[in-house]
């Protein structure tokens, strides 16, 4: 168990670091995929099978591909001599470090978290129960998410449409 966790966590974090730091954007995207796989593995370890598969399907199957597409469409894959980072990049890194430090200290120092001895093994709901919950308790959010996705679909399609050219007379045949 421990080994599995260490492997998954290490892979995830390493791939994440790579994804955020590599020069080639395509490599970044591929590393991102590895990160997502890693997180999916972590989900599996945590017993959330359904979420894990959903994570793979959505993040790997859709989001990563989208990112790759966008990269190709914007021709930003090519490695150029321009600086990669937003200057001064150390400030950004510092702030990120600060945030992580704060969170980690608070997590490590918190006495409120359940310890191993008091841990409760949540009865993992079956897929069917999950579906029933979605359709009963969470039906309103579900509808809202459906609406949101529809809106995003239409919005993305509209944004992606080729803009109409300024009106030029049609060429005479």
């Amino acid at each position: 168990m421990d080994a599995a966790f260490l492997i998954a966590a290490g892979l995830t974090l390493a791939a994440a670091v790579a994804a955020m730091s590599l020069r080639n954007l395509i490599h970044c995207a591929l590393c991102l995929v590895v990160t997502f796989f890693g997180v999916a593995a972590l989900f599996l370890l945590l017993g959330a099978e359904f979420v894990s598969f959903a994570q793979v399907m959505v993040y790997v199957g859709a989001i990563a591909i989208l990112i790759v597409f966008a990269t190709l469409l914007t021709r930003s894959a090519g490695v150029t001599g321009e600086p990669l980072a937003f200057q001064p990049w150390l400030v950004g890194l510092g702030i990120a470090g600060l945030v992580v430090g704060a969170i980690v200290t608070s997590v490590a120092g918190s006495g409120l978290l359940p310890t191993e001895s008091s841990r409760i093994v949540a009865a993992a709901p079956s897929t069917r129960e999950l579906g029933e919950q979605l359709m009963s308790t969470y039906v309103l959010p579900l509808e809202v998410v459906g609406l949101l996705l529809t809106a995003a679909l239409i919005g993305a399609a509209v944004l992606g449409l080729r803009e109409p050219k300024p009106s030029t007379p049609p060429p005479k045949p």
């Binding site: 937003f86 950004g92 990120a96 945030v99 704060a102 969170i103």
Partner: protein, 704 residues
Amino acid sequence: MNWIVHQLWLIPALPFLAAGVLALTPRRQRAFAARLAISALAVSLALSCAAFVATLGHAGTGTFRERVNFTWFQFGDQALRLGWVLDPLAAVMLVMVSFVGLLIFIYSVGYMAHDANFTRFFCFLALFAGAMLGLVIANSLLLLFVCWELVGLASYLLIGFWFHKPEAAAAAKKAFITTRIGDVALFLGMLWLYSAGGTLLFYDAGEGCLENAALARIAGPSLVGWGTLVGISLLIFGGAIGKSGQLPLHVWLPDAMEGPTPVSALIHAATMVAAGVFLVARVFPLMKPDWPSLAGGIPLAGTPPPDATLAITWVGAITAVFAALIAVAQTDIKRILAYSTVSQLGYMFLGLGVGGVAVGMFHLLTHACFKALLFLGAGSVIHGCHDEQDIRRMGGLRRPMPVTFATYAVGMMALSGVPLLFSGFWSKDEILHAAHGWAGSRIPFYLGLFGALLTAFYMTRQMVYVFFGQRRAASTPPAAASGIRHPASGEPHESPLVMTVPLAILAVSAIVLGFLGTPAWPWLQTYLGADHGGSGGVELAKLLTKETLWLMAISTAVVTAGIGLAWRWYGQRPITDAGTPDPLQMSFPAAFRWLRQKFFVDEFYAATVIRAHAAWARFSDLLDAWLWGGLVLAVHFLTQGLSWASRFFDEYVVNLGFDAACRRLRRDGAFAAGLSDGKLQNYLRGIGTAFACLLVLLLWGGCR
């Protein structure tokens, strides 16, 4: 129970069936139409006679009354029941209606021989006959009302039979609407009766609305209940007024003469108009309730409070004279008869009011015969004169049309009440006799006498004009636009047998019928259940009592005076020219103008009721167009105005202050805006830093 009671429904059903079949019959099946209608009515007559015979055995021993009730439909958990009843009243009416009807049907075959819509005519006639017979046997006010409306419809259709004539179309409409005024009253009376008494069945094993239990329930031992009873009676009588052309609503009946003459004879003389009389006779227990039995022993005022018969008497008496007066000055052969009918119906009501069912019904029956006879005779005259209806253009017809003349004379004498031999005398005398004995007032009696005088007068006038003297035909016959195609011959001619035979039969019955109700042998009265104290046999002595003799003498004198007066004015100096003014006109020009113009009742109505209705309609329409439509518009403008005001307020009041504030704010904002340089990641940094700081603050700031 007698089989005929169970099969009584067949009597109206057969003509109805014939009407239904004829409605779907093609126009060219003329012979079939006539045969079907006549045979249907003939069977009805046979059944009616059977029914009549069935009631005979019980005459004098108490009233024969059998009924069959059935459920028409259910509403909710309640049932609406209808039924039919056979009693003497219904039986004599049945026989009368189907007998007169049959004769007129036969007569029509000749009269309408050339009409294009012959088939339709018999369809409508059959419909009428069915409805009228249904009305007669109805044991429920509702069923009676249904048939009542249906005879109205048939009347409408038949008056407007020559609908291409605008007068006919207008007359039809007028008839329907005027009677409907009465019908609304009857309808309301029916509703009131239904809700007060809980049933509309006349006789229902003691529970019917004409039987004492229900009457007691309505009336209760109180004056309020009595008032209810009188109110219901008056409303029902309102229906009778409309149908029988009594005073305020009489205007439609003369106009109804626009219909074919057989129709006038059947519907507007013999049967339908008498339905009002029949209705009052049918609900007579309601009209004249037995006060002591209803008061239930509770000592109220000693004399019974006035009931509806009071109104009936007065309306009848006044109408009798009023219509007779108008008839004196008319020149249209059928209109004279129409006003005569109105007048005679007034007599019947007078008879009902003062003497009860038997008196009124006796006159109804005799009148039906001789008035049908007169109308048919008039039809024969019109037929023979090629659609001429103006008596001033006739004259000297007794030679070319002997049969018509003879029968017409019988009818005239019956109507005028020529003593002893003719039925009109006996029945009218009966009424006068009762009026003389009426406790309420003596005036109806005098009115009745005056009416008798007038009747004799105008009938003689008409006879003289039509049959005596010399021919005064106009040079050009009136355009035969009525759709009747006569063989073109200039001279008047006698009608065919199919028309004269019914005339003859009616003439005989006009004489014979009178002997059924003479004081000496009041068979009919006994039969109808009136208490005459007689033994049922012939008692000549009754005829010879002082009062009777005296009254007979008076009426004889009156009739003689009427005939003599008319003969003096019209007969002695033969009128030679159609354009000659009426002798009466020369003597009393002002009065004659009033009479000729029918007391201006139509004009009065046109100026008041009809104009009021038109104004009301116009008002409603304008109300729609302007008030309600205007309100909508107003709301629209109001909304617009409000929004305009709101905009004004916003622009000039609210915004002014805000503008100042905004200018200041903008200056300050410019500085703040400098902080946001548009670089996204700078913002992100801000957020990140803030988040970290917040976290640190929360962790170590003591926010537990």
